[in-house]
Symmetry: C2
Subunit: 418 residues, 2 copies
């Protein structure tokens, strides 16, 4: 017997038939003898509908009232799933954020979970009742409804799993696991049996949208075993235990599991960056701070930065990337400070892609970056910028070459399955 937290996203909860299917998947876990809690998202599209009402009400809406409105989507699906489970003969009840309670700070619309009083939840689960918990929501110190920000239900699930000391947190999504790369790009992509928290974090942060980054950080911090599974398995199939998805584990656990470790775990592509170049900046102390200070103050996240070698007249070009959604704001801000910064021209390009190779194996192997650069150069793909971390190498390339680059690298690192 294990204690399991299961999480289902909005696509899995979209309408009566799909919720019924989820109920059957949950029922099978209980029938297998497990104690079960389920965390649910709102029906797909519902949160957007509610957010739209908020925007129409007041473009500068009060985030505390926004939370009251949007938290209702998960409230509805939690009640409905409890009813569907009851229809299957299971004992089940919903636990709203304030009922558990899932205590958060008071940063409405982007709250952080501070503590979960799980005693009542654990008692209920131990009695054989399935606990159904709306994801994404909590309650502030002042007793008001809070939400965790878009995609927060993954974080809710991991936090509940940590609080009830669950043996596993199963995240059911519309993919059946984490792949070496996007199978829509590379047909020979392989599903990974295991991936480390650090790798998952790097993959999540560079565009592999299987899990919300925050939920992976939390799982790593709390040591929650997270499994990514498909919710679109045949609902007559055996219990999920026997249909492995991808298990996210610690470095230590991975070493025990996987002797023939690959050098590279996965390859991710991210088209959501834009490149800005400021030309002919004075090559003096403080020049770079004049650019990046204001961007940081405006909450614009700068990723890659390249500063060209100063030319003989004491000037330099600075190139960097920002999220494409912040490009217009960044341009306006830099235009405004043209004189303070002292650049000649601002160039920008939204048609770029960041390609990243990720793997804990590269810690102990040299030459990973060299392999990447050579493989891309052999196919004539020009590298516009480079960043590295301990377990990741990223390059910026022309967006049109995204798929080609991913395929070339997937083969170069010998990741292709049959």
């Amino acid at each position: 017997m294990a204690r399991i937290v299961m999480k289902f996203g909005g696509t899995s909860m979209a309408g009566t038939e799909r919720i019924r299917r989820v109920a059957r998947i949950v029922q099978r876990q209980q029938a297998a003898g497990h104690e079960v809690a389920v965390v649910v998202s709102a029906m797909a599209g519902e949160t957007d509908r509610l957010v739209n009402f908020c925007r129409e009400a007041n473009p500068l809406y009060d985030p505390a009232e926004y939370d009251v409105v949007v938290a209702s989507g998960e409230q509805v699906t939690s009640g409905l799933l409890a009813m569907h489970l009851q229809a299957l003969g299971c004992s089940a009840r919903s636990w709203l954020g304030w009922q558990v309670p899932i205590k958060t700070d008071d940063a409405h619309a982007k709250a952080r979970i501070e503590d979960i009083d799980a005693d009542a939840l654990i008692a209920s689960m131990a009695s054989g009742e399935i606990a159904v918990i709306p994801g994404f929501q909590g309650v502030s110190p002042a007793g008001r409804v809070t939400t965790l920000g878009r995609g927060g239900s993954d974080t809710s699930a991991v936090a509940v799993a940590a609080a009830v000391n669950a043996d596993r947190c199963d995240i059911y999504t519309d993919v059946d696991g984490v792949y070496t790369t996007d199978p829509r790009i590379v047909a020979k992509a392989r599903k990974l049996k295991n991936v480390t928290y650090e790798e998952m974090l790097e993959l999540a942060s560079v565009g592999s949208k299987v899990l919300q980054t925050r939920s992976v950080s939390l799982a790593m911090k709390e040591g929650v075993r997270v499994q990514v599974l498909s919710s679109f398995i045949d609902d007559d199939a055996p219990a999920a235990d026997t249909i492995p998805g991808t298990m996210i584990v610690s470095d230590e656990e991975l070493e025990g599991l996987d002797m023939e470790r690959q050098l590279i775990t996965g390859i991710a592509a991210d088209k959501n960056e834009a490149k800005i170049t400021l030309t002919r900046i004075a090559d003096r102390p403080g020049a770079v701070a004049a650019i990046f200070g204001p961007l940081a103050a405006a909450n614009i996240n700068v990723d890659m930065i390249i500063q060209n070698i100063a030319k003989d007249r004491g000037e330099t070009d600075v190139t960097f990337t920002v999220p494409i959604s912040d490009l217009a704001r960044a341009q306006a801000l830099l235009e405004e400070r043209k004189d303070t910064i002292g650049y000649y021209r601002m160039l920008s390009n939204g048609k770029v892609a960041k390609i990243s190779v990720v793997g804990v194996g590269m810690r102990s192997h040299a030459g990973v970056a060299a392999t990447m650069f050579r493989a891309l150069a052999d196919r004539g793909i020009n590298i516009q910028a480079i960043t590295t971390s301990e377990i990741k190498v990223s390059v910026l390339i022309d967006e049109d070459e995204t798929e080609l680059a991913v395929r070339v690298l997937h083969t170069a690192y010998e990741l292709d399955g049959e």
Copy 2:
């Protein structure tokens, strides 16, 4: 300065433009110097949508989970109205049922309000903040979401008005007050400036759907002054104080207000009754109990009853009315007990209407019923059954003659305006 509770129904809350209109009506009350709380319904159609999901989930749904699901409709509109008010520059916040708290019993889906802790609400209103409260919902002793049954938002509004000791509870509806009769039937119907609680109760119970009966009982018990107003007034019009709807007051207050009191206040028609006749029942003790006992046990509300004079062979015919929605159930139940009851035939007729004349004036005047019978007889309208209360006389007639009867009586009691 007064303390006012305003209530808006689902039609008034259906979508962004209508909620904005409501916000302007509320803002005008505050601008007039009043302390304001607002009770809101869900958007028209939303509760039906949610109830439908519940039925699909489980025809025998758990009312506790039903409440979690359907209470979300009012949660959404309360948050949205708070945002709209803020957009107009008002200070406003939503207070969910569990936040106030509005304490109910644990009869989920048809809960009764037991107590409202109004201290926080009063403090907030006194500080100039508009309190926006979702109608229809409360919290049970076990801390779970409850709802008051369909139409419960009127009751929420009156209960909040009593708890905050409001000077007035304004119920905004899609009519602009209580009329002497339905203006769609009688063009010369007049809007009443005042009506007593007892009259309103009788009118509500016989098909005048302006207010939920429970809310009127509660207002009478708690002495809450209730005003019925239209929410479709021009939103550039002056504050509601100057656009009188109908005020519901006590008998004593009415005597002070209205010297030239009419004998009859209003005439209502109700087509939701059906007539059942059981023929040739033995005229012996217990025969009638054998009919009405099982109907009561099945929660079928019997209204009018006529027992014909026993014929010489010791048999009698019994005729009575039930809500038309319960007709099939009542027939099945009586069919099943044909031998126990011992009747010869069961006849039924759904094409009947109950016409009621209501007025506290009839307490001190004889001849009200006689006027009614004569006026109907003069137009050849046959009376099938009669019931009376202290302030009401009702007759059952052929449904086809409903409008004719209402017009005849409106003239007979000299209610016609110009």
